[in-house]
Every structure is written in structure tokens, then in C-alpha cells.
């Protein structure tokens, strides 16, 4: 078994016990990149030299007998919409092709304080818009379990790299399911924290009131450790929560006795893949066996959540993306005058999906339509949040599918954006409500594709969903399986 197959907490112990060095580990992961990146294409930028330099520094520290932090010396990678000082941050868009931020996102500052090894920047749907990573302006990423399939999106690179062993951990961002859905498609753990739990400063905005950075990891233990590092109030983000940050690793206990788990009937949608439903029902049975109490609940406004989301997110995106006009940063396409320069820049450098959402967003915000669309969507948003609030009067967590299917084929849905949007039906509502949710593996389809389930928690109660997820994870071995790639398994 090679080093890249192990989760971070195992590797951390090995580093502490001097069984391995960070350079050995980093080289193993870099050689894994050499072996399979051609098939997976999870990365946009690999910072190979910097990674080895960081690894060497950690080894020297260990040699000096100094203590190391959890993530120290362990290689991971970052979704390319999180600003990294001195390293290209493109959002998988041509408009930011050569953009090198002069500053670090707050999560990067927090990570760097831990001295991890940063391998580079990960592919995504352009500006995080999409559910398949096919909308990257550079190349699609492939699902490590079947490279003819999508890895999910928009954090497809984040999920695929961890699943392929080309990163031990990664960071993604989740606006309507963009961490949880690819985690589900790639058989890894992905957590969307409560809105405001993690600073958004330095995350290139898609839908500002919905976006949240979160970890993508091999297992729940790593997820809790990563959340410890990135969570907390940030003065640079006034929407970040001032609530105290608990030690999330204390939630890593195998105990769901008496835990009330809600099953929302609206999340078991028509058209759901029977194999997905079967795997989730089996997980529910497992929870019952372990002493949890299953409660049928209803979240009646779920049907409207998708429509509301596809008005609010594009409306925010339309304004957020206005800054890319060829004037201040990013790419410029010249024109005869100012207006044509801006028009040419935006026409040529934005992809189709991005343009589609800009148009939708501007339409929804325009005078005369604001009340009918944006304002109504905001009212639906309130109703969705109230649904959850009522449900959490009865239950501790909510269990649901992540996506109605396993990973679909590349190109299969590309021509049908509406069908693609429906993929988000089970993930979007909690972004509207700002709630935390975790996706973790709960089985495989007959074709060998991973199936994920989602555990949704109360605001700021990541501890309970981590506890529920960890208990289930320890009862099976899905999280230990690696995708077969590059003939090395």
C-alpha cells in the first residue's frame, strides 16, 4: 500500500513516529500525479517545487525534535477559486487566465500557519457554476472511478484529487452542493459548514450569500481536523460567525444512541436511481441498528428551493462578475472604444454557463422584474429556512441523498442545463438556509460507482453531523476503498 492511499491522520502519526518523512510522502503523491493526472486532470496548477521545499522544511523541523501540527507536512490542494498569494487563481475561467492574487484568502493564511504541503490548484466549473466540472474553460476533470464519468461539480477537482490519491486532502467551495455532490460522485467525504463558520475572504464569489468553503477528505476524522483549522470568525468577513469554535475532533465518537434522525419525504424524489435509494435505505437501517431513532419529516417547500436558488445565485453572480470588464485585472480583448473593449472581453472570455447565469441574474434584478423574481425567491428562501427550523424542533439531524444518481457520463447532460440543475435538488435547500451538511460514502452501484449520503445539521452544529457521520463510517469500510487507476492498485 502506497502512502497516497492513507488518510491524513494516519500519515500524521507516521510522520510523528518518524516512519516516513514529508519529502517521501510528498514525492509519493507527486509521482501519483505523474501516473494518473493524465487520466483524471484534477489540477490546473501543480506547484511541485514549492511543495517539496515545504516538505523539506517540515522534515528539518521534525529532525530538530519539534512538535508538528496535524496537517504539517501533509500534501493537499486548493480549489482554484480560493486566492493564493503569488500562485495563479483562475476560477477555471479564461478571464482570469493569468491572475495572480497579491493576497491570501483567510483560509490560506490559516492553513499556511499549519505548514501543510500545498500541491497546487484544482479544477472546477468556471466560477463554480456547474455540477460536473465540464464547464472549466481549460479541460473537464474525470471521475477516478470511471474516467468516462464526471467527478461532479463544481469542486470536481477537489473531490477527484482526493479520490485519485493525487492529494491527501483538499479544500472546495459549496454554493448549492458543490462540495457534497462531487464528494458523493467520487466516494470521498465533503463538508459544507454552516454559512459564516468559515471566512469567505479570498474566495472568489459566485453567490455571496450561499458560498461556503469546506474540506474534502478521505474520511470523517480528517474532515473534523481540517474544519478545526479553517473555522472561526474573521474580521475581514463581516458575515462570518462570531460563535465559539469547538474542537470538532471531540465529535469523533461512535455513538448515535437516541439520536433523532429525520427523513424528509421530499428528498426521495421521483426519478431517483433505485440503487442510490437502496444504499441510503440500508444506511438508515444501519443507524437504527446502532440505536438511532428514525423520524419521518416533511420539508414542504423543497420543490421551490431549486427555482429560488437559480434566481438568487445568478443574481448575486451577475453583480459579482461585473468586475471582469478588461479594465483592472484579468484578460482584456481590445476593441475600438471602451464599450467594445468591455463587450469583446466579456464575450470572448466568459464561458456559456457563466453567460447564461449572468443573463438570468440581470434579468431577475432588472426594474420591473425584481419583485416577481428576486424578491419572490427571497421569500421562498425564508420559507425553506422555516421548514428546517420546524424540522429541527423534532430531530437532531436530517438524512438525505446527496444526488439522485451516481456520476453520469461526461457530455450526457451538457446539452440540458435544466436537467443538470435538478441534480442539485437535495443539496441546494441547505445553502438557502445556511445549514451545515456532510456527504460521505454509503455504498457502490452495480457498476462500481460510489454512492454518497448527506447528513444535514442545525446551524453551527457541525459536531452532531460529524458524530453521526463518524459512527456510520466506522461501521463499514467504504471510505477505505480507492479507485483503480493507472494500473497501480
Amino acid at each position: 500500500m502506497r502512502l497516497y492511499e492513507k488518510p491524513a491522520h494516519v500519515l500524521h502519526d507516521m510522520l510523528v513516529n518518524k516512519e516516513i518523512t514529508s519529502v517521501e510522502l510528498t514525492e509519493d503523491v507527486l509521482s501519483r500525479i505523474d501516473e494518473v493526472e493524465g487520466e483524471v486532470k484534477a489540477y490546473l496548477t501543480v506547484t511541485r517545487d514549492e511543495a517539496l521545499e515545504q516538505a523539506r522544511a517540515v522534515d528539518e523541523k521534525i529532525a530538530r525534535g519539534e512538535e508538528i501540527s496535524f496537517l504539517e507536512g501533509i500534501p493537499g490542494a486548493i480549489k482554484d477559486n480560493i486566492c493564493t498569494k503569488g500562485v495563479k487563481t483562475t476560477c477555471a475561467s479564461k478571464i482570469l487566465e493569468h491572475f495572480v492574487p497579491p493576497y491570501d484568502a483567510t483560509v490560506m493564511k490559516k492553513l499556511k500557519a499549519e505548514n501543510p504541503v500545498i500541491l497546487g490548484k484544482l479544477n472546477m466549473d468556471e466560477f463554480a457554476m456547474g455540477g460536473s466540472t465540464e464547464n472549466s474553460a481549460y479541460h473537464p476533470t474525470c471521475n477516478p472511478w470511471n474516467t468516462e464519468c464526471v467527478p461532479g461539480g463544481s469542486s470536481g477537482g477537489s473531490a477527484a484529487s482526493v479520490a485519485a490519491g493525487t492529494a491527501i486532502w483538499s479544500l472546495g467551495s459549496d454554493t448549492g452542493g458543490s462540495i457534497r455532490q462531487p464528494a458523493s460522485f467520487c466516494g470521498v467525504v465533503g463538508l459544507k459548514p454552516t454559512y459564516g463558520r468559515v471566512s469567505r475572504y479570498g474566495l472568489v464569489a459566485y453567490g455571496s450569500s450561499l458560498d461556503q468553503i469546506g474540506p474534502v477528505t478521505r474520511d470523517v476524522t480528517d474532515c473534523a481536523h481540517l474544519l478545526n483549522i479553517i473555522a472561526g470568525h474573521d474580521e475581514m468577513d463581516s458575515t462570518s460567525s462570531e460563535a465559539a469554535v469547538p474542537d470538532f475532533t471531540r465529535a469523533l465518537v461512535e455513538d448515535v444512541k437516541g439520536l433523532k434522525i429525520g427523513l424528509p419525504k421530499e428528498y426521495f424524489v421521483k426519478g431517483m436511481d433505485p440503487e442510490v435509494e437502496k444504499a441510503i435505505r440500508a444506511a438508515i437501517e444501519k443507524y437504527k441498528e446502532m440505536g438511532a431513532e428514525i423520524v419521518d419529516i416533511s420539508l414542504p417547500h423543497t420543490d421551490y428551493a431549486i427555482s429560488a436558488y437559480y434566481l438568487i445565485a445568478p443574481a448575486e453572480a451577475a453583480t459579482n462578475l461585473q468586475r471582469y470588464d478588461g479594465v483592472s485585472y484579468g484578460e482584456r480583448v481590445e476593441g475600438e472604444d471602451l464599450v467594445s473593449m468591455m463587450t469583446n472581453t466579456r464575450t470572448e472570455k466568459f464561458g456559456e454557463e457563466v453567460k447564461r447565469r449572468i443573463v438570468i441574474g440581470n434579468y431577475a434584478l432588472s426594474a420591473g422584474y425584481y419583485d416577481a423574481y428576486y424578491l419572490k425567491a427571497m421569500k421562498v428562501r425564508t420559507l425553506v429556512a422555516e421548514d428546517y427550523a420546524k424540522a429541527f424542533e423534532q430531530v437532531d439531524v436530517i438524512l438525505a441523498p446527496v444526488a439522485p444518481t451516481t456520476a453520469f457520463k461526461i457530455g450526457e447532460m451538457a446539452g440540458d442545463p435544466l436537467q443538470m440543475y435538478l441534480q442539485d435538488a437535495c443539496t441546494v435547500p441547505l445553502n438557502l438556509a445556511g445549514l451545515p451538511g456532510i456527504s460521505l460514502p454509503c455504498g457502490f452501484s452495480s457498476k462500481g460507482m460510489p454512492i454518497g449520503m448527506q447528513i444535514i445539521g442545525k446551524a453551527l452544529d457541525e459536531e452532531t453531523i460529524i458524530r453521526a457521520a463518524y459512527t456510520y463510517e466506522q461501521s463499514q469500510d467504504y471510505h477505505t476503498k480507492m479507485a483503480k487507476l493507472g494500473g497501480n492498485n
Binding site: 475572504y201 455571496s208 463581516s238 458575515t239 453583480t319 468586475r323 426594474a367
Partner: protein
């Protein structure tokens, strides 16, 4: 048909915070291009704004000082305004829930008081500045953008269309300027653009309640331009209407050199700002306690101060109005009176020689070579009869270029008033002896003839004799 003008002002007031509204960059004026910038005010991908609490404080204080209601739940919005000197291409401003609403200020034009209503006061960020290689954007091969101003905090103070003449508009803007100075939220330096107005002007037949089509003139930054632009626009619109034409709704610029307004762009109605609540900033919740705290920190405002100067010192309404028209003037007056100088004399000297000299040299009172302390000392010399009012004019003139104390100037220049009866008597005797005709006239019943004699005595004493004593002694001698 007779027309009346309907005028409304949107005043942009730059706040004197040390740092910008949403980041920690300095707001100071005149720095090298793009030196006061950071990722936040450059609108870089991924940045988030954080609100400078001083701006909120200033917004609330401005609202309280103009009799507005303070919104306890206020929020920022994105105003999508596509222009190359706004780095994000939206302006973070306030839309439906501004910090303050529904206020008023009173103005005074030639003794007539009028109440001008304020629609709202909202907080927003300023934009940057385009620097063209040519004289304007059209004839420039390239243009650069200076983002130093980007994110400098502004209050936009919007009036109802309650004014009907250029004089009223000027009085209104002067009142707003005075209030902002008094509460110390802005430097109000109009030449630096601290205070600038967008003016809306429309005409309607006298007696009509309906508003006519309006035109807007942007960025007027002097009182003279404000008056000239409005007067020109009223005249222009009157002519158009009298010729049977229609006013086009448009934005016009004022050219101070020619004294005319020119069409800049029309189709204003096509503007769709697509306002949206700013998702990156939580709403501004203001408690009653905070409002009361800020209210308690407000100084005495111009109107209250004016009333006090009238009742406490017996100043005329006119004098009190001018003295309280700016914070600097009012403070100067206070400082003069604080030395022990008589308030009426202080007012007279300020309204007279001081203002005249300042105006002649184009100086602001804060730069006056005669400081309040010294004017106070000089007035005390008058009160003690050390100098006469007439000599004081000489002393004052001397003080304008000489930094010595008035007492020293009086001594050095030998300007001390002669109050010695013997000395004055001597001069009086000589004058009586030399002016037999005037003496005869007086004795013959022409009492006015004494004036010529007083003049002679004063002349002979080089103005230093105490005029009252001269009058007294002359009368004694001639009548006796």
C-alpha cells in the same frame, strides 16, 4: 404664462474619516496615484468589504443634526453602475433603507425663513478617477485609472424639490455645509470636492402642483457655480417653454467659463441600476442608546447658536446669522468674547474690518492673521479707553501684518489715547484761539459749529485725544 422653478439638490458630502468606508486605506487628499489602495478597495476577486463604524456614526449624526429619523434597521445595497473607475462595477450604497430619512433644515433668504425638507441621507463609497492622456476621454489614446478616491466615504443628502430660486438653493447648501462643519463630519472644502451637488431643475406654471420635466446638473462644487447654473437653466427652460417647446429629461454639465449648461447625455430613464441587497455586509442595527449617545455628542447647531447670540448678547438677527454661518466664524466669535471683550463690539469688528480684510485677501477665517485672542485684546483696549474706535482701526490694520500684541503695537506706535484733561485742555485752548469764526458761530447759536472745532482738536492730537473728553471740554469752555 408665468413659470416658477422647482429645485432639488443631492449633496455629496465627503466624510473626514481617517480610513475608507470598507477597508483600512487612508483617505488623505493629493497622494500619488494608486498609492492608497489595497485588494479590498481595488475590488479584487475574492475580497469582502467591512464597514468603517465611524461612517455609520457620522451618518447618524448628520441625520440627527438635520432633524431626520434614524433607521434602526438600515442596510447596504449594490447599485449596479457600469463605469471604469468603479473597480467592482457596482457602487455599494443604500437604497430602500438608508441610515436617515424625513428631515428638514430652515433657510433664510433676505429675512424670509423657509423650511426645506430632506428626503434621506445615505452612506456610500466614492468612485475613482480617470486620468486621460488627452484633454478628454474622446481624444485620448489611453486613459489610466487612479483608485485613491475609490472607497472614500460619502454621505448623499437628498432634498425634496422645495426650493424655487438660486438664492434658496445656495442658502440651503450653505446651511448643509455649516451643519456638517459644526458636527465635524466633513472638512467641507468645496474646492477639493468635499462637498458637491447634483441639481435638479424643472419649471411649472405658477399655481400648478404638477412637476415639469427636469434636467440634472452634476458635480457643482462652488456656490457661485450653483447659482449661475440654476439661473441659466431657469432662463433656458423658460425660453424653451415660451417658444412652445418641450424640456428633454437629461443630464447637463455646467461650464463655468461660459456660464452655460450643455447637454451631456439623455435617456436617463433607461438607467436600470438593478439594486440588490449587499450580501457581503450584514444589516446595520442601531439601538436607541447608540442614537442617544450620538445625539448627546452633537454640538450646538447653527440655528440654536444664532438664537442664543441674539438673546444672550443682543446681537442683531443679521449679525448673528453671519457669525453662525460657519463653525469657524462662530468659534472665532466665542474666542473673542472669552477674552473678556464686549460681544457687540466683537460682532461689529468681525462683521466690519475683519471680514472685509479676509474677503479682500480671499482668506478663510481659520487663516486670519489677526487671531481671535488678539482681536479680543484690542477690543479690551477700546473698552478701557486706552484707544478710541478710530485709533483701533489703525491698530487693527497694523495687527494684520504685525504679530505683536495690540498693547505693544499701541505703545510702539504711540497710539495711546490722550485722556489727560490738562493735555487735551491745552490743545482745546489753542484751537479756540485759532478758530475765532467757528467760536463766534457757535456762540451766535449755531451749535453745529462745534463739530469743526472737535475735528481740529482731533487733528491736532493726531486722533489720539479722547473724543468724548474733547466734546466735553469744548462745550465747557465755549458755554462757560
Amino acid at each position: 404664462m408665468k413659470y416658477e422653478a422647482v429645485i432639488g439638490l443631492e449633496i455629496h458630502c465627503e466624510l473626514k474619516t481617517k480610513t475608507k468606508i470598507f477597508c483600512g486605506c487612508a483617505t488623505s487628499f493629493g497622494a500619488d496615484q494608486n498609492t492608497h489602495v489595497c485588494p479590498v478597495c481595488l475590488g479584487m476577486p475574492g475580497v469582502l468589504p467591512t464597514v468603517n463604524q465611524r461612517v455609520v456614526e457620522f451618518g447618524i449624526k448628520a441625520g440627527l443634526a438635520t432633524n431626520c429619523e434614524i433607521n434602526k434597521y438600515s442596510k447596504f445595497d449594490r447599485k449596479n453602475y457600469y463605469y471604469p473607475d468603479l473597480p467592482k462595477n457596482w457602487q455599494t450604497s443604500q437604497y430602500d433603507l438608508p441610515i436617515a430619512e424625513h428631515g428638514w433644515v430652515d433657510i433664510d433668504v433676505e429675512g424670509e425663513k423657509k423650511r426645506i425638507r430632506l428626503t434621506r441621507i445615505h452612506m456610500e463609497e466614492d468612485a475613482g478617477k480617470l486620468v486621460h492622456s488627452g484633454t478628454n476621454i474622446k481624444d485620448s489614446a489611453s486613459s489610466n485609472v487612479d483608485y485613491n478616491r475609490t472607497g472614500v466615504p460619502l454621505l448623499e443628502i437628498v432634498s425634496e424639490p422645495d426650493m424655487s430660486s438660486a438664492e434658496e438653493a445656495r442658502a440651503y447648501m450653505e446651511k448643509i455645509k455649516a451643519i456638517m462643519e459644526y458636527i465635524d463630519v466633513s472638512n467641507c472644502r468645496m474646492e477639493e470636492g468635499n462637498l458637491r451637488a447634483d441639481i435638479n431643475v424643472s419649471l411649472r406654471p405658477v399655481g400648478s402642483k404638477e412637476l415639469g420635466t427636469r434636467t440634472e446638473m452634476k458635480n457643482i462644487n462652488s456656490f457661485k457655480n450653483l447659482e449661475d447654473a440654476i439661473n441659466y437653466e431657469i432662463e433656458r427652460q423658460t425660453e424653451v417653454l415660451e417658444d412652445g417647446g418641450h424640456i428633454v429629461q437629461e443630464t447637463r454639465t455646467f461650464d463655468p467659463a461660459q456660464g452655460i449648461t450643455l447637454s451631456m447625455r439623455s435617456k436617463e430613464n433607461a438607467h436600470d441600476y438593478r439594486y440588490m441587497p449587499e450580501p457581503d455586509l450584514p444589516p446595520i442595527i442601531t439601538s436607541e442608546e447608540t442614537i442617544e449617545k450620538y445625539r448627546s455628542e452633537l454640538p450646538e447647531l447653527p440655528d440654536a447658536r444664532r438664537a442664543r447670540l441674539e438673546s444672550e448678547f443682543g446681537l442683531s438677527d443679521y449679525d448673528a446669522g453671519i457669525i453662525t454661518s460657519s463653525r469657524a466664524m462662530a468659534e472665532y466669535f466665542d474666542a473673542v468674547v472669552a477674552t473678556g471683550a464686549d460681544a457687540k463690539l466683537a460682532a461689529n469688528w468681525m462683521m466690519g474690518d475683519l471680514l472685509k480684510n479676509l474677503n479682500d485677501e480671499g482668506l478663510d477665517i481659520s487663516k486670519s492673521p489677526v487671531e481671535a485672542q488678539r482681536l479680543g485684546e484690542m477690543i479690551q483696549l477700546i473698552m478701557k479707553d486706552t484707544i478710541s474706535g478710530k485709533i483701533a482701526k489703525k491698530v487693527f490694520k497694523e495687527m494684520w501684518t504685525n504679530t505683536d500684541s495690540p498693547e505693544k503695537i499701541v505703545k510702539d506706535k504711540g497710539l495711546v489715547q490722550i485722556t489727560d484733561t490738562k493735555a487735551i485742555e491745552g490743545i482745546v485752548d489753542v484751537v479756540i484761539a485759532k478758530n475765532q469764526k467757528a467760536v463766534d458761530d457757535y456762540k451766535g447759536g449755531n451749535k453745529k459749529a462745534i463739530g469743526a472745532l472737535v475735528g481740529q482738536v482731533m487733528k491736532a492730537s493726531k486722533g489720539k485725544a479722547n473724543p468724548q473728553m474733547v466734546n466735553q471740554l469744548l462745550a465747557q469752555k465755549l458755554d462757560g
